[in-house]
Symmetry: C2
Subunit: 460 residues, 2 copies
Amino acid sequence: MSSKPSIPKGTRDFSTEEMLKRDYIFETIKQVFRLYGYQPIETPSMENLTTLLGKYGDEGDKLLFRVLNSGDFLSSVEDNELLGREHIKLSSKICEKGLRYDLTVPFARYVVQHRDEITFPFKRYQIQPVWRADRPQKGRYREFFQCDIDVIGSDSLLNEYELIKVIDEVFERLKISTCIKINNRKVLSGIAGFIGEAERITDITVAIDKLDKIGIEAVNEELQGKGLSSEAISNLQPVLQLCGDNYAKLNKLSDLLSKSEIGMKGISELRTLLAHVDSSPLKCDLELDLTLARGLNYYTGAIIEVKSKDVNIGSICGGGRYDNLTGVFGMQGVSGVGISFGADRIYDVLNQLNLFSDIKVSSTEALLVNFGEKEANYALKILDLLHRLGVSAELFPDAVKLKKQMSYADSKKIPYIIIAGDDEIADNSITVKNMSSGEQKKIALNDIVSFVKDEIIRSK
Amino acid sequence: MSSKPSIPKGTRDFSTEEMLKRDYIFETIKQVFRLYGYQPIETPSMENLTTLLGKYGDEGDKLLFRVLNSGDFLSSVEDNELLGREHIKLSSKICEKGLRYDLTVPFARYVVQHRDEITFPFKRYQIQPVWRADRPQKGRYREFFQCDIDVIGSDSLLNEYELIKVIDEVFERLKISTCIKINNRKVLSGIAGFIGEAERITDITVAIDKLDKIGIEAVNEELQGKGLSSEAISNLQPVLQLCGDNYAKLNKLSDLLSKSEIGMKGISELRTLLAHVDSSPLKCDLELDLTLARGLNYYTGAIIEVKSKDVNIGSICGGGRYDNLTGVFGMQGVSGVGISFGADRIYDVLNQLNLFSDIKVSSTEALLVNFGEKEANYALKILDLLHRLGVSAELFPDAVKLKKQMSYADSKKIPYIIIAGDDEIADNSITVKNMSSGEQKKIALNDIVSFVKDEIIRSK
């Protein structure tokens, strides 16, 4: 093989610079998670397909990456099944495992499997990659990182409020202006009932979720195409056209849904959340958005989505309340609520807004120049000393031209160059060059410790 | 589905406690990597199978997890191929991607792909999971973490020496007593040549690699079984029985291999390495072990393996020099050397030796008790203040019995409980209970800042 190697489409390598920028995002998010008492767990990359299938809708099932069984994967498949070529059915016979699609379903599985070791309410955070066989495009990858927190085992709305605070704090620390959009699945159910189409809630929410993108005419057409009656569509119009501030919207909704028990329950939940927020104002905007539905079937209460106000890139964080997710794994009556930060989109936002400027690329503080065997042996003793003092330092491994060693230091942005040639060996010293000031000075071996403490460590 | 869910065999969930212990290992290793000037990169979990196949021997190829192509994966497979049921051949037609087997091959691929962006010598570290469809057993998992450093683009033996220093420093910080075993592939080639079986180097190294486990008789039998002549086996005996300290072994080897150019080159490399080590003694032991071969075909020079002296668990770190690895991806003449720390085995060693005792399990410093709506609203203001002061704190989300809230605090090992009931609300105070001393005191709202600074933050 001699053509340049490549990686699967939709996947990425991360260079050192990208790694440091990503670490900054992960560290910021983790610190806030910990500040609010969330604890880390991790789950395996592969889950049994029985765990994953049926949790994300038909579309989601198609986007799962399946892992071929080891050994003779065909041994339990009959000839006629092979020739039938039903690839979806066949894939379940030759693959038992899949790569996780998100962190929420594996978390629900974790909770059920480890229920006896967990103290509830269980507040966990989890930062790991997920995989989706989506069509790759700008800002959409087949392997990407999610940063999730969930509280499971408590249906208190204080949890929803806490998630809003966490979002507010994370984006304030990252200096990204955001708008948090909230909605409630119960309100959506109320609306579907109010227009006489309770059964059609999925079609209705899918359609109105597009209002932002395609406009009200197109939404109405889509609803008509789905077979909703003209009367239902006409009854829906006041909801689609709801305007004013959050309270104005809620008041109008209360009028419309006054006869819907579930709708009024959703409105009451939203009011409680807003009251908490009012008592301790957020740095970001909070907007009630009735068109917010999100694709996931498992939401039953609050629905949350966060958008950057300065970069048009879709949702950078989202989540909601799910009452039944552990139920599918055999553990009933446990409600959970959680959100997921999309590290990759947050990365793109910070990049576009130039908010990464302060990230330090090099970890190396000092490069010792290599002039040959004798000098290298002298330099190794200096290197030992620097390492003992906690200074990140390296000796260039080859005795090549000084120019090449300097350009290495340059490209790694190493701030100090240490030169130890015949002169320095003769009088037990080193010469240190500060790469930003250009200043160069000779330092006796006995003075290295104080030099390091006064200058290198202090400038870090 | 109502049976308890599970995860694929050979994979693991990590609880919070396990996560914190693992983080301690990763952080310790990372700090040493950075101290020596290594920079982080990451590569995707999935690589094209063309990148992975043929790099790990036939056994390795079998252990690769293959990812089924999305959509109709059978579309390019003929009926007769299906009925032929050659599962290995078929798997290559229905799977283009696989999960990475180690970090070295993806790193070589990365270097070739990004050669124009990289400054050589390139010192990178990489900490990510790898996957192998190995038979799961104690201490062997199908998903496990490797922590790798490699230097590529320099054939200086200073790199091998640096890796030895890194190993020494990592295990000193982790307080694990270790023995570093070293060998050199050139010496193994010299030995194979010396006994007149240069072509059989793989069979010979595979056999003598087992000396430790099965003893000299069994090794000789295995060699005989592989078809080695009695004369060759008899010539090999002095090598197998080599004893004494490192220099004694090298002197004896020099006599035996004096006519082998490659063998003498290997001996000279080992001498250089030992000379460096002598000038700055290690904390761990360093032992020349001629039976050390390791399975990987791509090693060409130094071979390194590390064992715990107190726990019998196999290799906890290993690596070596590879001269041709980027060659298979079309980039010739670039030599690399690297080592990989096995985080999972290191975890087991630390656990067995009880060296994890100081890991702090809770991140939460203070739990605010929830007595109901009014009290919770008062507590939320305290919570805001604590968060602004950087104190990790949480309000229990439900107004359940005090006992339940206390046992939650207990299981999360939260050191401070904050009580704010009617009395406290009436006189603008809180009651703080120190869970380790049992001491309880009332603090005015105005004094919270100084209390936090004097007591909570100081005790962290």
